[in-house]
Structure formats: structure tokens, C-alpha cells
């Protein structure tokens, strides 16, 4: 692939990381979170990033989404190279080109559901596209909950508001950080269904970090990370194939030379990546 844009939607790249490295600390205490990772996220594709705790999957997403800085390599969102951007420009890029769904604290408690959905456009000072907004709200089934505040909504409903917010501004790409992590399986399935529909029917690009094979099965493609490197990828995954693959994982291991990392994925250093 060259970096020249193509008109062909099937192969056009929404975001691309090239030789991306992220290193914390120096000398003895140095930790390599991402080790020369190169990956493309194609338009209208639903990608799941998987890996054990500490594999660098969240770091990868944060770097590609312009939330975190990286040590070397390059990241492009569409035509924009992120490495050269100042904080202000990065903020603007996130506001205009990227949608976000987090695991928790997605919504402002003081705003109604509708106000939360239009928040990115309010920040940009843009008027939302009324027709599109209505479509999105109808799709996530929130039409009768728009004037409610987050505290009056269930966890699943809150996350649907977050999905609607991410979709409403028609971003180039949506990033989800364990978007179903705090939900029960039924609500989780709903949210994932909306994300998949937005890709299939609206041509939205979605990248999601998850550790749940069932969630990953909604994606078109799964990218597996371990010790800061991409170790494999899988197209048209199912929960079983993903689970099978996960079982073969060495479970983090000390292969990357960053010896400070503990063995058990579940008890990995919580503060840095989730």
C-alpha cells in the first residue's frame, strides 16, 4: 500500500500506524509499550484490537486516536500526520474527525441525553444535521429518553447515548475503549449491534479495544497484540475462533525484554493500561 488516497472504499485507509513505538521511562526502568507496530484501519471496517492486559492494545488505540503521544513512527488519520500536531490541532482533529466511546464516564451528568449526543458539535459550534441526528437516535432507540439525565438512564442506555454521540458528528473513525466492559451481556450485545450496523449500513469505520471474545466476534477483523507487537490478525472472527486463538497465547511472557511486567494478565499494572 502507498499512502496516496484511493477512491476505492474497500481499500481506502481511515487510519494508519507505521513503525509506531511507545516507550515509557529510561534505562533500567524502561518499558516498551508499543514496539514498531504497523497497522491499517480501513474505511467501513469494524476492527477489534485484542490482547492480554499489558499487551499495549489500549496504548495503540490511544496513540492512533490522538489521545496520547508516541515515541517514534507515524500515525495518520486520513491525510493528517499526527506526530507533527500540537495539542490544539490534535484536539480539533479529535473533535472533528474522531468519535469516542469509553468504558465509563462517557457522559456529563449535568447534560440531558440529547445535549450529551450533540456535545461534540456544540463544542465545535456547529449545528447538527437534523435528519442524520434523528436517524442515529432512532437507530439506538433513544427517542423517548432524550430529555433524561444520565443518572436517570440504565448503564446500557447510557452507553447507547455514547454510541449516538460518537455517530452523530459523522466522524471519519470511531474508537471504542472496552465499550461493553461495564455492561451486562444483553446491553453489551445491543451496543455492539449498533456499532456493527453503523459499519455495514452507514459505512462508518470503527476500531474497538476489547478483551471479550464475544465482543470481538462482532468485528470484521481482529488484530492480536502481545508485548507491544502485533502477533496475528483474523478476518470474520467468531467467539470460538477468537477464544481458541487466545488459548494459544503465551500469556504475556517476557519475550519483549521489558522484564518488569508481571506474568498474570489479570493483575497487570492497572494504572498504565487497562
Amino acid at each position: 500500500m502507498t499512502t496516496t488516497p484511493t477512491v476505492d472504499r474497500a481499500t481506502a485507509v481511515a487510519a494508519r500506524a507505521t513503525e509506531l513505538s511507545k516507550i515509557y521511562g529510561q534505562g533500567e526502568t524502561q518499558v516498551v509499550a508499543l514496539d514498531r507496530v504497523s497497522v491499517d484501519f480501513r474505511q467501513a471496517e469494524f476492527t477489534a484490537i485484542m490482547g492480554p492486559s499489558g499487551s499495549g492494545k489500549s496504548t495503540l488505540m490511544h496513540c492512533v486516536a490522538g489521545l496520547d503521544t508516541f515515541s517514534s513512527g507515524s500515525v495518520r488519520i486520513g491525510e493528517t500526520e499526527l506526530g507533527s500536531l500540537k495539542d490544539k490541532q490534535l484536539t480539533k482533529l479529535r473533535r472533528d474527525k474522531i468519535g469516542f466511546i469509553f468504558q465509563a464516564f462517557n457522559l456529563l451528568p449535568t447534560l440531558t441525553a440529547l445535549e450529551n449526543i450533540t456535545l461534540p458539535m456544540d463544542i465545535a459550534g456547529r449545528k447538527p444535521d437534523k435528519q442524520w441526528l434523528d436517524d442515529v437516535i432512532r437507530m439506538v432507540g433513544l427517542s423517548d429518553r432524550l430529555s433524561h439525565r444520565p443518572s436517570q438512564l440504565s448503564g446500557g442506555q447510557q452507553q447507547r447515548v455514547a454510541v449516538a454521540r460518537a455517530l452523530a458528528s459523522r466522524p471519519d473513525i470511531i474508537f471504542g475503549d472496552e465499550p461493553t466492559g461495564n455492561l451486562d451481556s444483553r446491553s453489551g450485545a445491543e451496543v455492539l449491534g449498533f456499532l456493527r450496523n453503523s459499519v455495514r449500513e452507514l459505512g462508518q469505520t470503527v476500531v474497538m479495544v476489547t478483551h471479550d471474545p464475544v465482543a470481538a466476534a462482532y468485528a470484521d477483523r481482529v488484530v492480536f497484540l502481545a508485548d507491544g507487537r502485533i502477533v496475528d490478525e483474523m478476518y470474520r472472527p467468531t467467539a470460538e475462533t477468537v477464544l481458541d486463538f487466545m488459548r494459544q497465547f503465551p500469556g504475556g511472557g517476557n519475550t519483549s525484554g521489558s522484564g518488569a511486567r508481571p506474568q498474570t494478565p489479570e493483575f497487570d499494572a492497572k494504572g498504565r493500561t487497562s
Partner: protein, 842 residues
């Protein structure tokens, strides 16, 4: 538990910083006041005690009380008494003391020291032990004066120089015969002292051949009390009083202590206000800390800590915070005490030298105030902490502070406010002395009521600001919503600012209205162009009046001469005026009869007439100073005011009965009216005497305005501390809010709110809270100012409410500035927040 509490203090030291600062400022104010007043009073006492070194026993005249128609009088201390005193066996020597006032001009013709501490005395004999000469010789005759070394140094006078001085109006120009040092307390406090020889002093101060006091020194071996007993036997009975030097020094010390103590109390009131405002911050901080630690505290409860232990752990935290604040505050207070001393020194007030006095009482007071205030303010949050159920530890939900209904609170607040308003309104209908108590009570009730109601008031008042905030887009909208999100916290923060601004506005409204009314009073009834008086309020020699009368351009003038008299077995003060001209100089409304002053005809004001039951034509007997009596007739009754009131009679009738006639002031009407040229002419005619003031109505207005401005500025300075503490409160609340909302802010940053907008959001929130407090404060202040004015208005017919719109605007701007300033640091923190750390779930 103690260890847990201590660890908590250490863990939250940044968040407790503002609390510590707030308490520290209050404690510093308290201990600064104590250190300052103790130091000053100690220094004054020491220096004044030194002034009594040469006095073993002082003989003073004993005032003879008024009786019937006979006016009380002070007997004279004669040369014979002095000789008798010197002759008692225990006396080594006796000095006849003559005292008076002498203003000294510096080389530019300006009065040294404003005139209020310009004293004069006699130099006794050839060598006066009280005043050792450092240069030159003792003064002799009318053409010589000795001045104290400090004054000589300040004005640059040397022996042989000619100085311009004035005792009671006319200018004298003696030469400096000598310069002396003295332990005199007045000189130590920055005053000037001029010495004349005894005969000159007696003549200048109108006491020929007599003394004000006889100071007797004891022979070695004779005690002060023994000498006193001897003197009591030797001197004519009933006419003199004797006091030992020790008693004089003690009395003086007590007087200084009591005058310092009223100053101390005044300052402590303001320190108390600052501390009171501080309690809001302490309570807020601990409430927020408890809310943030809900899980932690629930865990403690779950593992077996009792409610009381949880409360105690919060209180121990408060104790540690209070202790740290109290100790630092005490140190700062000692610094303030020392600083204040040099500060008032730089304003020209001289304070005798002395060590900085930090008494154990000061230390105890500082520690007690700091610790108690903090613990008291933390008590409620501590109890709330104890109410957290152990199950909260298990809850995976982000625990929220309980949002109890505000119904009870609002009802209570409404009751308090209504009661407060009712009592204040009731008080405004009473007369000024009866109404003060109810007024104060009502004010306190209303402030408490409004404070309880602030959470309720915050919504509509802040909603009113919405249109303005909308202009700031998302930042404005979020700021508005954040500010009403926790009404209790917003209320406590705004209330802290409200208190300071209420007092400042109230004082400003009252002072402005008072100034206006006094101004009107001063000029309303006066037709004269100029009023001539002594700069320090002393009496003028009649020569001044005569000089003015003869000055070209003066069309009418009249001295106002005060004299006591016995009327109806009471002492009344008569006002002697020039009956021929007074009608042209004043414009008093005559209610009854005619304004005729001359011979035995007098005019009296309504109040005096009513109290004596006089009407036009009534006769009464006046017993004068010289013991003579005269029948006077009421010719007219006029409407008096603060400046002119009482019984007015002709000087021609009054003066023959006075031993030493002197004028309080002289009213002057000129052909050309008040102008710079006229004033210049009058001043020149009086010998350009710095001790004499020639004031037009406008000058009087300006002087009234100046004194009001001075008092107001002092009050502003004192209340500034309360405002500074309130600023710390706003900073504190914002910083904690930013901390609590870090996840939200992180999310906002992630979805595209830039740093500038985050900053603006915090700043606007701060602005909204501060202006809310400002509006409440200015509103309450105007109400209290109006109410207090109504009360005072009953005494002053010219009183009228004057609203200082410009100042009120400035106060609101000040509130806004407080908001912007307080947000600087929290806004920076919010903008610099680590987005990733913030959005990561637990």
C-alpha cells in the same frame, strides 16, 4: 485511628493547603492584633512611667462641684501653695507646672504634627531636671523658646533660629534659646513640646501667677506616701488633691491599657469576621474530602470501626490541620505585629521603642482559636462521615454525596430570613438608642437566613446569568450547570464572599449617607463665607476675632464663644455671639418670636426650650463663671442642628463674666464672597498662621469627606482580610471540583474540547459563583445600610439615603475580579489534566 487521620492529612496536603491558609490568616490576624497592641501598650507604659520619674507627689487643684446657681470651678494653685509645698520637711524641691498648647511651624510654614500633639510647658527656674538641655540655654522672656530635640531635628531648627509659633491664634516669632531632651510621653509618641520661662507660660496660657500642678520631689529617706501626708496637712483643705508619683504612673498605665484594649477589641472583631468566613472553607473542604473518601470510610466501618471512631478520625484530621495553621498563623502574626508598628511609624505616628511582646496569653489564644475553629467547622462533615453505611464500600457505583432534600433547609432559611427582616424593619421605627440591639439581632438573623437559603437562591440567580454565559458557547453552558450542580457547596463558597461584601457595602452606604447629611447640616444654616478656627479644635484668642473684624472686605463677623452657666440647677453651655451680626451669618429657621440677640434677650433652640418649658417671653436666671447671676429673656425659638444649638446670647452680655474669654470659631461674611483671593486675604490678615484654619463651606465639606474617607478606607483594609479568606475559599472549591470532575474533564478533552475552553469553563464557573456572592452581599449591604440609616436618621433631620452606585458597581467588579483571580490556578490544573489518566476507568 490517629495514624489513619494523620496519613489522610499527609495524603491530601495539597487539598488541605487552602484550608490551612484560611485558618492561618485568621489566626495571624488575631495574634497580630494581640502582639501589636501588647507591644504598643507596653512601650507606651514604659515611656510614660519614665515621665513620672521626677514626681514623688503631685499636687493638683480639686474641682469644686456646681451647687444650686453656683457654677463649679477649679481653684487656682498659687505661689503661696507652691512655697508651702516646698517647705514641708520631706520635700527636696517643688516645681510649679504650667501647661498649654503651642503649635510650631516648620521652615515651610507648615504645622508640625497636625497640631493635636503640640504641647507646651514652663521651664522651671535656672535648671529644670525634667528637661536636660543638649544645646543652648534655658528660655527667658517672651522672645525665647526651647524646643525638644526630636522636633528640632525634624524641622531642622538650631539654637538661634527664629520659629513661628502660635498659642491661641496670633503668631509669635521667638528665637530658639535651647534644645532639650525629655521623657515626656507625648514627645515619645511623636508630639512636639515648647518650653517658655514660667512667667511667659503663665501669661501665654492665661493663668497669671498660678500653676496647673505642683510636682514635689522627696528628700532621700522620705517615702512618697509620707511626703503626701505632709503635703495634705500643709495645704489648704478642700482645694487641692495630692497623688503619689507611683499612683500617677499606674493610672496612666491603666489608661493606656484601656485605650489599647478598645482598639484591640475593634481589631479582634474584624479578625473574628475573617475567621468566621474561614469556617465556611473548612466545612466545605472537609465535606468534599469526606465525599471523596466515602468508599474508604465505608471500608473502615465494614472492618469494624464504630461511627464515633469515624467522626473522631475526621476531627483528628481537623485538629492536625488546625494546629499547623495555628502555629504558622502565630508566627505570621508576630510578623504582622512587628510590621504594623513600623507601618504606623511610616504614617508619621511615633511609637516609643520597645521589644516585641508575645505573651503566653497570645500564644494560647492563637492555638485555641486555630484549633477550635477548625475542629468546630469540621464537626458536621465528621458526623456525616459517620453516617456512611458500611455497604457503601461494596458498591461498585461511583459513590455520590447524598443529595438530601433541601425542603427542610429552605423552610428554616425562609423562617430565619423573614424573622430577620421583620426585626430589622421593626427596629427602624424605634429611636436610635433602643433600636440598636434589635437591629443587630435582626441583621444576624437575616444573614443566617440568607446563608441557609443560598442553595435555593443560587438556581434562579445563576439562571439569570445564562444569557450572558451563552455567549461563551459550550464553556459557558457547562460552567453554569457546574455551578448549580452542588448547590450547598456553591452556597457556602458564595456566602463566604457575601459576608465580606455585605459589611463593606453596608458601611459604604451608611457612611455615604451620613457624610451627605452632615455636610448638609454643616452648610444648611450658615450664611457666612468662612469659618475660622484652630487646627486642633482649641480656643482662639479674642484678638483673632478683632483682627478679622478690622480686615478690609469683611462685612460681618461673629465669634462663637462657649461658656458654662447654671440654669435651673443644671449646667448648660451658653453660646456667646455678636448679637448685631449673627443674623447675617446664620440662616436659622425661627419657629416662634424673633431672632433678637442683645442685652438680656436671648434665643434658644426648640429642644432646649422644650426641656426647660420655655416659650417666647419666658425669663430664667443664669449663674455665670464669676458667680454673678442675671435674668435673661427668651426672645425667639429657633430650629437647632448639630452645629448650632442651645442658648445664644450677646457677647457683650456674656464676656464681662468670663475671666479668660476665648472663641471656638469665628464666622466671617465678606463683600466678595468665598474665593481663593478672599481666603488668601483672610489668611494673610491672620499672619499666615498654620495653626489657624480658614474654611469655606466647601472646605468644611471636603474635611468631612476626608474624615469619612479615612474611616472607610480603614474599614476596607480590615475587611479585606475577610475577602482574601473568601478568595481562598473560591480557589479551594474550584480546585476540589476540578479534582472531582477530572474524569469528565478528561472525557471532554478527548472528544475535542481544547485547553482554552476547559480553562474558560472553570473561570466562568468561578465568575458565576463569585458574582452570585457579590450580588447577595451588595444587596444585603444596601438593605442593612438603609436600615441603620433609618435608625440614625431619627437623630438627624437632614439624614437621607444616598446610594453609592459607582462604589456598588466597583464592589461587583471586585467580586468578578475575585472570581477570575481565584480561578487562575484551578483552571490551569484543569487544562493540564492528564486526559488518559482521567478517562481510564477504575
Amino acid at each position: 485511628m490517629f495514624r489513619t487521620a494523620l496519613r489522610n492529612v499527609l495524603a491530601h496536603k495539597a487539598r488541605l493547603l487552602m484550608t490551612v491558609l484560611a485558618v492561618m490568616l485568621g489566626v495571624a490576624f488575631v495574634s497580630g492584633t494581640l502582639v501589636f497592641t501588647n507591644t504598643i501598650s507596653d512601650a507606651f507604659q514604659k515611656s510614660s512611667a519614665k515621665g513620672f520619674d521626677h514626681v514623688d507627689v503631685a499636687v493638683q487643684p480639686k474641682y469644686q462641684d456646681s451647687e444650686g446657681d453656683k457654677l463649679g470651678r477649679t481653684p487656682e494653685l498659687t505661689r503661696a501653695m507652691l512655697d508651702k509645698s516646698a517647705d514641708v520637711p520631706g520635700a527636696a524641691s517643688a516645681i510649679g507646672v504650667v501647661q498649654g498648647f503651642t503649635a510650631i511651624a516648620d521652615k515651610d510654614g507648615k504645622l508640625i504634627g497636625g497640631g493635636f500633639r503640640s504641647e507646651a510647658a514652663n521651664y522651671w527656674d535656672a535648671k529644670d531636671p525634667r528637661y536636660p538641655l543638649t544645646d543652648g540655654t534655658a528660655p527667658h522672656g517672651r522672645d525665647q523658646v526651647a524646643i525638644d530635640a526630636e522636633t528640632a531635628k525634624r524641622a531642622g531648627y538650631k539654637v538661634g533660629d527664629t520659629v513661628r509659633i502660635s498659642v491661641d491664634g496670633p503668631v509669635l516669632t521667638p528665637t530658639v534659646s535651647g534644645v532639650f531632651t525629655t521623657d515626656d510621653g507625648n514627645v515619645a509618641a511623636g508630639g512636639s513640646l515648647a518650653l517658655f520661662d514660667t512667667a511667659t507660660a503663665q501669661q501665654l496660657f492665661g493663668k497669671p501667677g498660678t500653676y496647673d500642678e505642683i510636682d514635689v520631689a522627696a528628700r532621700p529617706g522620705t517615702s512618697q506616701s509620707a511626703l503626701r501626708a505632709q503635703l495634705d496637712r500643709a495645704l489648704p483643705e478642700g482645694l487641692t488633691e495630692t497623688t503619689t508619683g507611683k499612683k500617677l504612673a499606674d493610672d496612666q498605665a491603666e489608661m493606656i491599657a484601656s485605650s489599647m484594649s478598645s482598639m484591640k477589641q475593634g481589631l479582634l472583631v474584624f479578625a473574628g469576621i475573617a475567621l468566621f468566613v474561614g469556617t465556611f472553607i473548612i466545612a466545605n473542604t472537609f465535606t468534599m474530602l469526606v465525599a471523596q473518601r466515602t468508599k474508604e470510610l465505608a471500608l473502615l466501618r465494614a472492618v469494624g470501626a464504630s461511627r464515633r471512631q469515624v467522626t473522631r478520625s475526621v476531627l483528628i484530621e481537623a485538629f492536625v490541620v488546625g494546629l499547623i495553621a495555628a502555629v504558622t498563623g502565630l508566627v505570621a502574626g508576630a510578623g504582622i505585629g512587628a510590621g504594623l508598628r513600623s507601618l504606623i511609624g511610616s504614617f508619621g505616628a511615633t511609637v516609643p521603642d520597645g521589644p516585641l511582646v508575645i505573651t503566653p496569653g497570645t500564644v494560647l489564644a492563637a492555638l485555641a482559636v486555630g484549633i477550635l475553629v477548625t475542629m468546630l467547622a469540621a464537626w458536621l462533615p465528621g458526623r456525616r462521615a459517620a453516617k456512611i453505611p458500611p455497604v457503601a464500600a461494596m458498591s461498585s457505583l461511583h459513590a455520590k454525596a447524598t443529595t438530601k432534600s433541601l425542603v427542610l433547609r429552605n423552610t428554616l432559611g425562609a423562617l430565619f430570613s423573614a424573622a430577620g427582616i421583620a426585626v430589622v424593619l421593626a427596629a427602624t421605627t424605634m429611636n436610635s438608642s433602643d433600636g440598636q440591639g434589635p437591629m443587630g439581632l435582626g441583621a444576624v438573623l437575616l444573614i443566617i437566613g440568607v446563608f441557609i437559603l443560598t442553595p435555593l437562591l443560587s438556581r434562579p440567580l445563576i439562571a439569570a446569568a445564562a444569557p450572558v454565559l451563552r455567549a461563551f458557547g459550550v464553556s459557558g453552558k457547562l460552567a453554569r450547570q457546574n455551578s448549580v450542580r452542588n448547590p450547598r457547596r456553591t452556597a457556602a463558597t458564595a456566602s463566604a464572599l457575601m459576608i465580606g461584601l455585605t459589611l463593606i457595602t453596608g458601611m459604604t452606604v451608611l457612611a455615604g449617607s451620613l457624610q451627605h447629611s452632615i455636610d448638609r447640616m454643616a452648610s444648611a444654616a450658615i450664611k457666612a463665607d468662612y469659618v475660622v478656627s484652630m487646627a486642633n479644635g482649641n480656643e482662639l484668642s479674642p484678638d483673632v476675632g478683632r483682627t478679622l473684624e478690622e480686615t478690609a472686605g469683611v462685612t460681618a463677623s461673629s465669634p462663637l464663644r462657649n461658656a458654662p452657666a447654671r440654669i435651673d440647677r443644671e449646667t448648660e453651655y451658653l453660646t456667646g455671639v455678636d448679637g448685631g451680626t449673627i443674623g447675617k451669618l446664620t440662616d436659622l429657621t425661627v419657629d416662634d418670636g424673633s431672632f433678637k440677640v442683645g442685652g438680656t434677650q436671648v434665643v434658644v433652640d426648640e429642644d432646649t426650650a422644650t426641656s426647660h418649658g420655655w416659650r417666647v417671653g419666658s425669663d430664667f436666671t443664669a449663674g455665670y463663671e464669676d458667680g454673678r447671676k442675671e435674668r435673661l429673656t427668651v426672645a425667639g425659638v429657633y430650629e437647632g442642628n448639630e452645629m448650632i444649638r442651645g442658648i445664644m446670647l450677646d457677647n457683650a452680655t456674656l464676656s464681662p463674666h468670663q475671666t479668660d474669654p476665648a472663641d471656638m470659631q469665628i464666622m466671617v461674611k465678606t463683600a466678595d464672597g468665598a474665593s481663593a483671593a478672599t481666603k488668601d486675604k483672610l489668611e494673610k490678615a491672620l499672619g499666615s498662621n498654620p495653626a489657624v484654619r480658614v474654611q469655606s463651606k466647601k472646605d468644611i465639606s471636603n474635611e468631612i469627606a476626608r474624615s469619612f474617607t479615612l474611616v472607610l478606607n480603614m474599614l476596607y483594609g480590615l475587611l479585606a482580610m475577610a475577602v482574601i479568606v473568601a478568595v481562598l475559599g473560591v480557589i479551594n472549591t474550584l480546585a476540589m471540583s476540578v479534582f472531582e470532575r477530572s474524569q469528565e474533564i478528561g472525557m471532554l478533552r478527548a472528544i475535542g474540547l481544547d485547553r482554552k475552553s476547559v480553562k474558560r469553563m472553570v473561570r466562568l464557573e468561578s465568575l458565576v459563583i463569585s458574582l452570585f456572592g457579590g450580588v447577595l452581599g451588595v444587596g444585603l449591604g444596601v438593605f442593612f445600610g438603609w436600615a441603620a440609616g433609618q435608625l440614625l436618621g431619627t437623630k438627624m433631620p437632614t439624614y437621607e439615603l444616598v446610594l453609592p452606585w459607582t462604589r456598588m458597581g466597583i464592589f461587583l467588579l471586585l467580586a468578578a475580579a475575585v472570581g477570575v483571580l481565584a480561578a487562575l490556578w484551578p483552571a490551569r490544573r484543569a487544562a493540564r489534566l492528564n486526559m488518559l489518566a482521567a478517562i481510564k476507568s477504575e
